[in-house]
């Protein structure tokens, strides 16, 4: 049997746009191929059903692997199989693992980098755990300034939020190629996070 990958998309999350299948496929295949060839957090070695967690297009898929193949490969997308979204806690855990890995990497090998303070990490935890359930989880990156940066995409539009070590959260967006100011909030005032959450909801509407 040749190697085949079957992937389904999810439309379960309100903020996740339903894309034509052909536009979503390359990213899914790329991501699945990473799992097969590099061994992700859950390496695929046997035929079966697997959750493939992708920030913009969370999918579940079935993979059939040729017996005895050293490095499984894909031939062609065949058909949609399942449309169950990965559980939010699993996505959040994966995101958190990534953030902590980046926090460590940003500090290693760059003597001028400002380590991300423990307080900023705690603010990150609070920010992510408080995101409204209908809001897509962001991608997160870490700067040499000790910041944690959150990025959301809606097609080519983008919202970026910078959580700085001095307890300020600043966000801006790119809409139709133009840059738009968001706002700045101090994170020592809990009630202000709701403004940020509202801005993300607005971004996806």
């Amino acid at each position: 049997m040749s190697d085949l990958a079957y992937f389904g998309r999810t439309a379960a999350r309100r903020s996740n746009p339903v894309l034509p299948l052909h536009s979503a496929v390359p990213s899914m295949l790329t991501y699945a191929r990473y799992f097969l060839e590099s061994g992700g957090t859950e390496p695929i070695t046997d035929t079966g059903y697997y959750d493939v967690i992708h920030p913009a297009h969370p999918v579940s898929g079935a993979v059939t692997v040729s017996s005895g193949a050293a490095v499984p490969t894909f031939e062609e997308l065949a058909t949609v199989s399942r449309t169950t979204a990965p559980a939010r806690p699993a996505l959040l855990a994966a995101l958190w693992d990534r953030i902590m890995r980046y926090v460590r990497m940003a500090a290693d090998g760059d003597e001028d980098a400002t380590p991300v303070p423990a307080e900023t990490i705690e603010h990150t935890r609070q920010l992510l755990s408080g995101l409204p359930s209908g809001v897509e989880l962001p991608q997160a990156t870490v700067s040499a300034d000790g910041e944690i940066i959150f990025t959301w995409f809606r097609s080519r539009d983008r919202l970026e939020a910078i959580l700085a070590p001095d307890r300020h959260l600043t966000w801006v967006s790119r809409i139709d190629g133009s840059f738009t100011d968001g706002d700045v909030i101090a994170l020592d005032k809990d009630e202000q996070l709701s403004r940020f959450y509202g801005a993300i909801v607005d971004f996806f509407q």
Binding site: L19, S23, A24, P26, S27, T30, Y31, R33, Y34, S38, G40, V52, I53, H54, P55, A56, H57, L91, A94, L95, R98, Y102, M105, A106, D108, G109, D112, T114, L137, Q139, T141, V142, S143, A144, D145, E147, I149, T151, F153, S155, R156, R158, E160, I162, A164, D166, H168, T170, W171, V172, S173, R174, F179, D181, G182, D183, V184
Partner: protein
């Protein structure tokens, strides 16, 4: 390109060893040493985030700048330096770089309509040797003003958008590893 009377007088200069001032029509290359600088839009396109443009570099802290190589840099020199700067083991043989055009950077303006970014020829000699085609990107107003957070955040997002061509040096796309 600006003149000495404008906010970026260094743009008109040709420092010793530099081939020329950086032209508006040039493309510059930013090394991407970490996957922690990248975000994926879900359709296979990858972009830099603001992490690629630290405040300390934009402000010129400790003599720093946002380090880039000019388009006339020899390919083997780009590869040699990219490999040395890379910190992602999976990219060791084929580092990732971002390319951006100079003119859109120089067209960025702050709220007051002032020139926001300078792109200066900046030859360096470092642990990898001499690099006459190195250039540095700096804010025209280097004074860190913490009250201008939105302006600075918008500038970093704009720079990330200008360096829109992100790929391995071989031209291969950067694989999306998802969350």
């Amino acid at each position: 390109m600006t003149t000495a009377a404008e906010p970026c007088p260094g743009e008109a200069l040709t420092p010793r060893h530099a081939p020329s001032p950086v032209g508006d029509d040039e493309t510059v290359i930013r090394f991407v040493p970490l996957r922690a600088w990248l975000a994926y839009d879900g359709s296979g396109h990858v972009e830099l985030t603001s992490a690629a443009f630290p405040e300390q570099e934009l402000e010129g802290t400790k003599g720093k700048s946002v380090s880039v190589l000019r388009h006339m840099t020899a390919p083997q020199e780009i590869l040699r330096r990219a490999v040395a700067r890379n910190r992602e083991p999976a990219w060791a043989n084929d580092p990732v770089v971002a390319r951006g055009q100079v003119l859109p950077m120089r067209q960025l303006r702050d709220y007051a309509g002032r020139w926001e970014i300078c792109v200066n020829a900046d030859p360096i000699t470092d642990n990898l040797g001499q690099c006459p085609t190195h250039a540095g990107i700096l804010r025209s107003d280097p004074l860190p003003d913490r009250s201008r957070r939105l302006e600075r955040a918008r500038l970093r997002l704009a720079l990330a958008s200008i360096f829109f061509d992100v790929a391995h040096l071989s031209g291969s796309p950067v694989a999306d590893r998802g969350i």
